[in-house]
Symmetry: C2
């Protein structure tokens, strides 16, 4: 039975898993679960992930959620994935775990909370929380600065001085990509000072072409809609109520 | 060269790593880094972990931080660790990764933030943030309820229906143990309704005797001090300024 990937391309960990499968030629079926329609709360999906979060996979009778755990499982369960994604060498593998663990309470917490409370909340019918946005911005900027100065230290193009991307690069870059949805000025202020981060995003995009842009297309389209809507607040109201 | 573990027994991930080493007969040197004295910000420690967090290890020339990554590395790098701690079977291993990933933004976020903002902040010379405490309490109670009803589902004594503990059991139980520091009433209100969680803590304590209580002793001592101090606010003020 073909691997099933339950995903919403608007969710950054969903995108990481989808891109990984496509880049590595893993045969899978993408099953759309739309967060904006609260489909992750359906009884059918809760039977797969009782925590109602995306992405999740079903491989035969085996069910799994949490994107980092999924990426590691896919490397081990599907033959032919190149070693650089999740090296067999225990020291290199340990460093990748270290980055992935750090991701949760730093970059992910900052980026996801900031974008939710500046752009996405109205689309999802949630209130904007300005204090949460301000706190998240601090975590986000501090996280980007730590990626720039610590994780991207060295001459490699990728995290930990890597010459080729690992699952950590893919996971963290997909997280940052949601900043595409921000107002241009906000995005420049936050990402602008981090030159190595910008080069690393481009390297990861290039290494996973054409799947990277194909899977992120939903984000680019929403960005255009938000930009057009921003020119007229009446359109914006119409847009947010329809999305 | 002997493995070096940089730890503060007041830090729950430090305790998990120390107990793991002791239970598995890993020969190591414990190097105390006291958070209350801000020793994690010293240039010497920053050379080991630029993120200034505990625990961290140095194994020969190899440096590593993030407790989950450390636990996984130790299983792989030191012979003789029983399989149940981190099974070789890829499906069982994947489920353990899933619990560990979930831990960060749920149980850890709730428990650590709640205890900091109800008990530890004054000891560390930080202000108490009541709003953060209230938000953290919600996350903590929701996390305990999910452990009770989802992760501890089934007849096993441990997470995921396990008959023996894994690194996820040890990591999550050490996180919950910090609730020992709470006022008895708060602790009962939060932990009381979660009977399976209470049994699981006892099972994990029993499976890792006598190291579990030996490493947690610092917590039990502080609990006594806090309780004594609670009887007289003048003593409490003296206590918090000295610790």
């Amino acid at each position: 039975m073909k691997l099933k990937v339950y995903a919403d391309r608007m969710s950054q960990p969903s995108r990481a898993v989808l891109i990984f499968c496509k880049v590595n030629g893993i045969d899978f079926e993408e099953i759309k679960v739309e967060i904006s329609k609260r489909q992750q709360s359906s009884p059918e999906f809760q039977a797969i992930n009782p925590f109602k979060k995306l992405p999740a996979i079903v491989d035969g009778r085996f069910k799994l959620f949490e994107s980092h755990a999924i990426l590691i499982y896919l490397v081990s369960a599907f033959p032919g994935v190149a070693d650089h994604w999740y090296p067999a060498d225990i020291s290199r593998r340990a460093k990748i775990h270290s980055v992935l663990d750090w991701h949760h309470m730093n970059l992910r917490r900052g980026a996801a909370t900031f974008v939710l409370n500046t752009v996405l909340a109205p689309i999802l019918g949630l209130p904007l929380n300005q204090q949460a946005a301000a706190e998240a911005e601090n975590i986000l900027i501090s996280s980007l600065s730590k990626i720039e100065n610590i994780w991207l230290k060295g001459n490699g193009r990728y995290l930990l001085g890597g010459l080729q991307p690992s699952i950590a690069d893919l996971s963290l870059v997909c997280e940052i990509m949601q900043l595409e949805l921000l107002d241009e000025k906000d995005r420049d202020r936050i990402l602008g000072p981090h030159k190595k981060v910008q080069q690393w995003i481009e390297s990861t995009r290039n290494a996973t072409r054409p799947h990277f842009d194909e899977v992120h297309n939903v984000l680019y389209k929403l960005k255009m809609k938000l930009r057009d809507a921003g020119m007229d607040s009446r359109i914006k109201t119409g847009l947010t109520s329809k999305m």
